[in-house]
């Protein structure tokens, strides 16, 4: 559920931390969706999808928003059943006449506070006609 609007976002804004369990049912649906082999560890991009959700679930982005670039670094194997905490922070927000751009820093930790993954995402947002005029 969105807790903040795009217009309210500022550089440095930290989204509420989200918690996810890398449950066997979640991993099973993820692995089925991407068509990758099963493993006893969570696929790193399943964790990354949760990290992205820490942001996309908390802000109402305009329809048509697209993902422009992505960086990730993985730090450790994550067994099925692990609870993860996902943090997302705005590191840059740009507004031009034809597009808006949002850069986010993503960090994922286990319940012991150990880093599991970090990353950076760049999103391009369509400029609403009303805003462009």
């Amino acid at each position: 559920m969105a807790t903040i609007s795009y217009d309210e976002l500022t550089t440095g804004y930290e989204f509420p931390v989200t918690t996810h369990e890398m449950s066997s049912s979640f991993i099973s649906s993820y692995v089925k969706a991407v068509g990758s082999p099963d493993d006893e560890y969570a696929p790193p991009l399943a964790i990354a999808a949760c990290a992205m959700n820490a942001m996309t679930g908390a802000v109402s982005l305009p329809p048509g928003t697209i993902h422009a670039s992505q960086e990730f670094e993985f730090f450790k194997l994550v067994p099925i059943g692990t609870i993860i905490n996902c943090h997302a922070r705005v590191i840059r927000k740009l507004a031009r006449s034809t597009m808006h751009m949002l850069e986010l820093e993503l960090s994922v930790f286990n319940k012991n506070g150990e880093g599991i993954q970090s990353g950076k995402a760049t999103l391009i947002l369509p400029v609403q006609r009303a805003n462009a005029q």
Binding site: K32, A33, A49, F72
Partner: protein
């Protein structure tokens, strides 16, 4: 796993066909319900002209290729830096490819740097970028 880790080595590609069902399944699994991916009527009205796959779905294919080549080292030490260059659409066949560009041995660790690309059936680049993974020399030698 790769049989040999050396500069120029081509990673075994991963090939996947995109369907709207797969996109919908990914939306369900990931919780990303952006209408550009799942609402065909909405997407048809946008400059993209139709639904597109989630970038993270296509990136998962590149990640699968890296896991296939480097095993769990990828899951625990991997690094991606990529750009989404073009959308992937239902009906596309995506091929994730990669090549080892450099291997740097430092202290007791080898850093393997790869260039990666995901293209559609027309050769259009969907994702382009780099990936890196760290291996212990024993693991690297075991693959040699």
């Amino acid at each position: 796993m790769l049989s040999e880790i050396c500069v120029g080595k081509i990673l075994t590609p991963v090939v996947k066909r995109i369907t709207q069902d797969k996109i919908n399944s990914y939306a369900e699994a990931s919780g990303d319900f952006n209408p550009i991916h799942i609402d065909e009527a909405f997407a048809a009205q946008t400059p993209l002209g139709g639904t597109i796959a989630h970038g993270m779905l296509i990136l998962a294919y590149a990640s699968e290729m890296m896991t296939q080549s480097f095993g769990r080292n990828w899951n625990s030490t991997g690094k991606f830096s990529i750009r989404f260059k073009a959308p992937a659409r239902p009906g596309d066949t995506i091929t994730a490819t990669g090549k080892i560009d450099s291997v740097e041995d430092k202290e007791s660790i080898s850093s393997v740097n790869c260039s990666i690309e995901c293209c559609n059936q027309n050769g259009e680049t969907i994702i382009m970028g780099g990936a890196a993974v760290r291996l212990s020399p024993q693991k690297r030698m075991a693959n040699a």
